[in-house]
Amino acid sequence: MTVPLDSIRLLRQRLEEILTEQLPENGRQWLFSRVDRSSTSALLMAFVAAPRFTGKQPVSLSAERRQELAELRPGFRLLAWPLDRVTRLYLLLQLPLENREAFIQAVETLFDTAEMNELVALYASLPVLPYPEAWLFRATEAVRSNMGLVFEALALGNPYPSEQFPEPAWNQLVMKTIFNDKSVGSIVGLVERSNPSLARILVDFAHERWAAGRYVPARAWQMVVPFVNESMLPDLQRLFTSDRAVDRQAAALLCNETNFEPARALGRQFPIEHAEQLRWENVDTQLA
């Protein structure tokens, strides 16, 4: 989705209030009186220098604030962001929002020279930047990153990829998450963006892992629900006889939610205790 500029301006206003309340005295001084917010180069420098003045205390948000932010931009959360990251987002939103070319160029300069925490701030901010289509390549670069925090900033708890990624890039993101032993359940849009080719990739991957005596995170099977077919019955059988409880639970959930009758029948052969209390969220283990 593209966030309307008015909402972005309103968000900037809210951030200013939050920072005014929560920055330490010298940080507030620096940001509101010493940084020239009308100069792009001064804003870029301030973006870089922010932690030197703001510290890294996590931002605190009242229930009302959280509600307000959720209305401005569904799926976007500032929860637990350190103050330097909040400040960096605020500074990004001071750049010339209406001038597409200038805005993109400024953000690209930051990407070009960013260290890890700056990259985290940039990727975590993507959902509220204008011109979302312009960041697509950068976003796929985060999926390629070897730096765990950078990958997470884009892949987990972030609505940008599910809204913007074409299917191959999306599938890559999901599989990289599994590969990196990160929590699949934290991907925004996991179920909605599920697709037959991802389901097939996951099944193939499971076969590889099983051959190596390893596991697939149980939560990942949720993506397969709409695509269960005849060829998967042996895999389901295998999950039901796994030595890990979470695998057996995932199999039970799968067989319960699928419309493919033979799989439902298979599920009835392996009754699970407290089946009615099973939830996908509870099989979200990061142990692979």
Binding site: M45, D112, K182
Partner: protein, 299 residues
């Protein structure tokens, strides 16, 4: 004992070196920006190099529980390409304010040309403006003269000598450096710079105050364990534990700590909680898994 190597070019080293350094007790290091063995041809190469110092190299180091800091600057050799030097000066401000950048460096003289002097002066001003320490490379040739000139120019620009670390000292330069209130760093580097037996004698003669030891290990025949080895030699030769601690750890921390960017409580492999919680496969628990090098099996 724990050690701080305030001058080592990890970009040129392998991960095995990181592992050996961690095993030897090195908990933090500083990687100064320098030249890469051959001249760069465009500003983009500088950008990528600076980015790797604050990005990938820092991350790689963290996997071994070693805190990685750097100094950023235009080195003297490449200052001689003035057209390029101008462009580098333009991007420097975007890097020197980054987290974990503990100084402007390594800058100073190599051939002592007018271009070297020009960019040395400009970068001193940058350091003053940012309130950052300066790490000064002194030349191999005409060292004594070059060292004196570096200090005189720094004073001329109004820098506090307590914010300036003069590097690659030897028996000939150390007295004047200390007398004028600068920090004196010594590089333990086989064949071309100091050997560590000479270093022991320097500490015996001048005491541990404002003196620090580094390896300056790079792509040459050098030793990333020079700091812990020198500490061991000092111990054998009867230098006090406190003096060893000062010259192999504390003094570097105090000098570069003036950047406001060094937090001792972060030493020793403490990593970001979220990183620890959701480790990358490589990253699990924040550190590289150990390989048993004697084993025939590779798993």
């Amino acid at each position: 004992m724990k050690f701080f190597d305030p001058h080592v070019h990890m970009t040129s080293r392998t991960t095995d070196d990181y592992q050996a350094m961690a095993d030897a007790g090195i908990v933090a290091l500083i990687e100064p920006a320098f030249w890469l063995g051959q001249p760069r041809t465009g500003v983009a190469s500088f950008k990528d190099y600076f980015s790797s110092l604050v990005g990938w190299e820092r991350f790689r180091s963290s996997q071994f529980g070693i805190k990685h800091y750097c100094t950023i600057g235009l080195n003297s050799r490449e200052a001689n390409n003035e057209a390029l030097a101008e462009q580098v000066m333009e991007v420097l401000p975007l890097f020197i304010y980054k987290e974990g950048v503990v100084g402007v460096g390594e800058i100073g003289f190599d051939d002592q040309t007018p271009a070297e002097e020009k960019y040395y002066r400009l970068q001193l001003e940058l350091a003053k403006e940012a309130n950052l320490p300066v790490q000064i490379h002194t030349p191999h040739r005409d060292k004594k003269q070059g060292t004196e000139r570096s200090m005189a120019i720094a004073l001329e620009h109004g820098l506090d000598p307590g914010m300036v670390i003069i590097d690659h000292n030897n028996e000939e330069t150390v007295k004047s450096v200390l007398d004028q209130g600068f920090w004196a760093a010594f590089t333990i580097y086989p064949f071309t710079k100091m050997g560590n037996e000479r270093m022991v004698e320097v500490v015996r003669q001048y005491g541990p105050e404002r003196i620090m030891v580094n390896s300056a290990a790079d792509w040459g025949i050098s030793d990333p364990l020079a700091v812990p080895k020198t500490a061991a030699l000092m111990k054998m030769k009867g230098i006090s534990d406190e003096a060893i601690r000062l010259v192999t750890y504390q003094n570097a921390l105090d000098a570069f700590g003036k950047s406001g960017q060094i937090f001792e409580e972060e030493f020793g492999g403490e990593i970001d909680q979220s990183q620890k919680f959701n480790g990358n496969t490589i990253l699990r628990g924040g550190q590289q898994p150990r390989i048993d090098k004697d084993s025939l099996f590779i798993n």
